[in-house]
Symmetry: C2
Amino acid sequence: MRILIVGAAGMLGRKLAERLARDGVLGRERVSHLSLVDVVESERPAAPGFDVTTVAADLTERPAVDELIAERPDIVFHLAAVVSGEAEADFEKGYRVNVDGTRLLFEAIRLAGTAYQPRVIFSSSIAVFGPPFPDVIGDDQCLTPSTSYGTQKAVAELLLSDYTRRGFFDGVAIRLPTICVRPGAPNRAASGFFSSIIREPLNGEEAVLPVSDDVRHWFASPRAGIDFLIHAGTLDSGALGKRRCLTMPGVSATVGAEIEALRRAAGDEAVGLIRREPDETIMRMVAGWPGGFDARRARALGFRAEADFDQIVRVYVEDELGDASS
Amino acid sequence: MRILIVGAAGMLGRKLAERLARDGVLGRERVSHLSLVDVVESERPAAPGFDVTTVAADLTERPAVDELIAERPDIVFHLAAVVSGEAEADFEKGYRVNVDGTRLLFEAIRLAGTAYQPRVIFSSSIAVFGPPFPDVIGDDQCLTPSTSYGTQKAVAELLLSDYTRRGFFDGVAIRLPTICVRPGAPNRAASGFFSSIIREPLNGEEAVLPVSDDVRHWFASPRAGIDFLIHAGTLDSGALGKRRCLTMPGVSATVGAEIEALRRAAGDEAVGLIRREPDETIMRMVAGWPGGFDARRARALGFRAEADFDQIVRVYVEDELGDASS
């Protein structure tokens, strides 16, 4: 089985490559080749038992995209995106990458002919939804994004559904919760503080909290995120019917609950490293974000996330601090 | 006030131009100039009290679109589209016109600068919704189109909402019911038979009915369609808030109810001209179409349609056969 990861240098892409290298299989199928593509050179996973190619390519350039698809990957993970903060700051770049780049990829697959019908897994986002929200958002919530990023993800979802319906590929879009705790340096997502208020204190550093404690949001760990992707790559897509876009399960938690989970994991001293610095712009953006989902369809299809925020903190400690503390 | 109609050679475009020529105003504002644009030359309305320019231009060619916007119309009616049957038959053409053409138009307005912020009225469609449907579809129904045409309209709606939110223009998308009874020759919309089973018998001609009598659908007359467009061009858009896409009111009727309305208007002989010729392809498409909407938001905002199908037949007789029978 040949696998292509577009957006392989990002946090999830890197972790997905590592996971595939470790497992050697996707579901029951042995991985024979893995292509890692991003605008920058992707990191090669350690000790893979199969061929790995890394390609630095721009998703917005048609020849580059055609070349990736000419390799006929059986599974395409499309994780590449300009993130929320940047898509809001740079309107043109957001549309160019998130809409046009996605469409170039889908078109390359369509134009490769009817005999070629890979599974395409697209990392969408809960940003496709906008206020007003019910307390718990059902699977039939209408698409009313309140950011350019959310709009671009919603457009890509619509394209994926239509390309799938037309038989050009076998698409599955998974709407990821805010992935938390993100390891490493912050990216330009406006949601970065949800991770940094846990990550920085656990690393003995100060973190800035730009919103109030009662802000509620929807989370899953990077480990759960990878499980979602793997499951989306292996499930029987017939069970999805025509509804190819799925809201992933997650943990609904307030910033206050995050902080209490940090306190249980690392004590008052860690919590003391959180510095409150309200930011009007971020508060306004976050006010338009959802607090919790039902995610019934995804759960019924076997997608699993953490049960509470303590578990999310534990995953970070195990997966990211494990080596450092040993 | 300068007005631009894109898609002016289509049925609604032509009727809108005639209405503006007759009224001389849009709301309280005097019309000073009307540009009629389509891929073919548009018909000039009779006796307008203002300048009319007709332009044959391709919405998918950027210089042509830029030129239209360089005239700084205060109101842009974007009615141009590849219709449902054709968008399903010609995948590339549907996306090129309905998605890329729409985006070129929106981009031309955005790039004209922040001082220019026209009202943009986009004719969307109930095809943005797909099954399963509740009996009466509410304003919060999720976007799950089951055709390429519906997908393209949904994408355009998302773009319109984002461009409006970003302050590039003042957009209103109106989801038109199936416009019935369409005058003149059938177009390539798969929904054409809903009109032809009324129109052809009223003109003493045979009509083919490809679906069963219990098929229920959502209708408004061309006259109501023009009223929607005029109202969308004049209403206080502040009342729309961030939800810029509105399902228009209409009449929910079965094919059987259509036929009974025809019988009341023109007798058994007219009904006898309907020839039943089931068509599997059309039946499959129509099975995915909605039967009726709540349209509460639009009604509250002052949009009005007919009360029943008899009225829809009457509008056809008055507006299209009035001259012929006099």
